[in-house]
């Protein structure tokens, strides 16, 4: 990947990944899912999750799984709002970039 992923875009991707699971999802799986789409060092995600949690975009809860507790992250209403905002912004941004790079009908 030659393009860097900015902080806002990474937030958006993480929120999108977490929002896919209604029951919530856990750190390792989020990392793997995010890495399906962008290059990401494994240590990058923890601060992002922590921040989104502090900003009340996600809540965490522990669930027993295979004999141990696992921490699950779940998107909140506020998180959904933020994600919607990001999706709208992304549509505009990516449309413009695609327009200029691929020479579409955009002026």
């Amino acid at each position: 990947m030659v393009f860097n992923t900015g902080a806002a875009l990474l937030d958006a991707i993480v929120l999108a990944v977490v929002s896919k699971e209604s029951e919530g999802t856990y750190g390792y799986k989020i990392t793997q899912d995010v890495r399906q789409v962008i290059e990401l060092s494994e240590s990058t995600l923890y601060p992002v999750l922590r921040r989104l949690q502090k900003d009340e975009c996600m809540v965490v809860y522990d669930r027993e799984c295979a004999g141990r507790n696992r921490r699950y992250y779940k998107i909140t209403d506020k998180g959904h709002d933020l994600l919607d905002l990001y999706v709208g912004e992304w549509r505009q941004y990516s449309g413009k970039i695609s327009g200029i790079l691929e020479g579409g009908s955009q002026t």
Binding site: M1, N4, A8, G27, E42, T44, Y46, P47, R68, R70
Partner: protein, 268 residues
């Protein structure tokens, strides 16, 4: 390095975080290892990189959170301060690693194979480039000592940077101790002098009383001599403090400060 070593190191490196943050971060990585499975332990360790780097990322994230918290909550599109690992806006120690990450990007750019194959060399590049990055940063901080620093390993520099708050605290502590010792010494000397004055007065009064009330007079004179004895003891203590304890402490702290540097010289 194995998982236990990594976790232990990380715990040490996070010493300056609030308890809740440290526990949270350690729990996350503990779980991360568990979820990755034992068979992937080595792979995870490789990709996480040095514990120092992971710790920096955690701290950087927390700083960004406090600095840009309002903005982020306000849903500003340019959510402030948050880092995407490869973001160019990372400050402090992380900034020193950016050249490394840039190297990773370059490697990926030229390799441009599948996502996974591109990843391997990329990460290696990041690690390899880390050392010069760190050394460069340090040279920038203290240009005067650049020559010396070429002899230091990146690890040692990282360690010293990380320990520098400790060193500062220790220096303050030592300074405080020396000042306290000096203060006690001065206190002893002044008290001693005052005691001698008081004793002379008491003895004088005693001699005066001796002719009127011989018993009370001799008690007063005796008390006076006792006070003089106490004063001499105090003055001796003060002399000991200034002549022995204070210089010793000073020399000791100088030796402590020099020690890490000497060791390095010895190793070279």
């Amino acid at each position: 390095m194995n998982k236990q070593e990594f976790m232990r190191k990380l715990e040490c490196l996070l010493w300056d975080l609030p308890e809740s943050e440290r526990v949270e971060a350690l729990k996350y990585y503990e779980e991360y290892f568990s979820d990755a499975g034992e068979e992937n332990e080595q792979k995870v360790l490789e990709e996480l990189g040095a514990p120092e780097r992971v710790a920096d990322t955690i701290k950087e994230g927390l700083r960004a959170n406090t600095d840009g918290g309002d903005k982020a909550a306000g849903m500003s599109p340019e959510t402030a301060g948050a880092n995407a690992g490869m973001g160019p806006g990372m400050a402090g120690t992380n900034a020193a690693m950016d050249p490394g990450t840039a190297g990773a990007n370059a490697a990926m750019g030229s390799g441009m194979a599948g996502a996974n194959t591109g990843m391997g060399p990329g990460m290696a590049g990041a690690n390899a480039a880390m050392n010069p990055g760190m050394t460069g940063a340090n040279a920038g901080m203290a240009p005067g000592t650049a020559g010396k620093e070429t002899g230091m390993s990146a690890g040692r520099i990282v360690l010293m940077v990380l320990l520098s708050p400790f060193a500062l605290a220790a220096a303050c502590l030592l300074f405080g101790m020396v000042a306290a010792l000096a203060g006690i010494g001065v206190g002893f000397a002044v008290t001693g002098a005052a005691c001698i004055l008081a004793a002379l007065v008491v003895i004088g009064a005693g001699i005066g009383q001796l002719f009127v009330m011989p018993f009370a007079g001799s008690v007063l004179i005796g008390t006076g001599f006792l006070i003089i004895a106490t004063a001499i003891l105090l003055i001796m203590l003060s002399v000991f403090l200034f002549g022995f304890a204070v210089p010793r402490t000073c020399r000791g702290s100088v030796w402590l400060c020099r020690k890490p540097f000497e060791k390095k010289g010895g190793q070279r």
